[in-house]
């Protein structure tokens, strides 16, 4: 599974993307975010407040209870501020 980070999530975590293989009990975005927190102090800090983290799977906005699978491209980012 490929995970992408944007904006301050990227700067806190220190990488723009990584390939991860979460355990089978990770079945949705919320579970993935919890599991990612254990990867490094940077991950833990960036993902501490899940309320300000948004997610997309395969380039579509999804809620945290959306299922994730091994082939997915998952993106985590703060609320968007374009325009």
């Amino acid at each position: 599974m490929k995970v992408l980070y944007f904006a301050w999530l990227r700067s806190k975590i220190g990488v723009a993307s990584e390939d991860v293989t979460p355990p089978p009990e990770v079945t949705d975005v919320g579970g993935l975010v919890e599991w990612l927190k254990g990867r490094s102090p940077g991950h833990a800090e960036a993902l501490a407040n899940a309320a300000v983290v948004k997610a997309a799977i395969n380039r579509e906005h999804v809620p945290f209870d959306h299922p994730v699978g091994p082939g997915d491209e998952v993106a985590l980012f703060p609320p968007v501020t374009g325009g």
Partner: protein, 150 residues
């Protein structure tokens, strides 16, 4: 329907001309151009860097433009959004809609920029005298987008 995500500036006059050329059923074109401001939250801003999510950005802009065409009778829709480093006074975004009727042009253009602000994956990093800071999403932008819920 023209959607572009690009680093370089755009020529508003040429873009609007291309949108309408030879199409004599158009009664009006409403457009919005967003610019980098020199102040934000009371602090001077010397530059702004726009990050985006290539691939998702285009897809989201197309979905938003498609939704506008579904809701209003439009002859043409144009969205151009820049990314990269910009300075105060620089253009960021151009949204334009063409219709036989001006109400449809106004409403759909307003809808496009409101939805774009809450759905298109762009993030702004501002350079200020106190250093760089990521722009936070505004509650007023969420409220503006909510207005268009069906």
């Amino acid at each position: 329907m023209t959607i572009r995500v690009q680093c370089e500036d755009f020529d508003v006059g040429a873009e609007l001309e291309a949108l309408t050329r030879g199409r004599t059923s158009i009664g009006g074109v409403t457009s919005f151009v967003g610019y980098v401001r020199d102040m934000a939250g009371g602090a001077p801003v010397s530059a702004m860097t726009l990050e985006h999510y290539p691939g998702m950005t285009e897809r989201q802009l197309e979905a938003i433009a498609g939704e506008a065409r579904r809701r209003w009778p439009l002859d043409a829709v144009l969205v151009i959004h820049r990314y990269g480093r910009l300075e105060p006074g620089d253009r960021i975004v151009l949204v334009a809609t063409a219709s036989a009727h001006r109400e449809a042009a106004f409403e759909s253009c307003h809808f496009l920029i409101d939805w774009l602000k809450t759905r298109a994956p762009f993030w702004k990093l501002e350079a200020t005298p106190e250093g760089e800071r990521w722009v936070e999403a505004k509650a007023s932008d969420d409220a503006a987008a909510q207005r268009w819920r069906e």
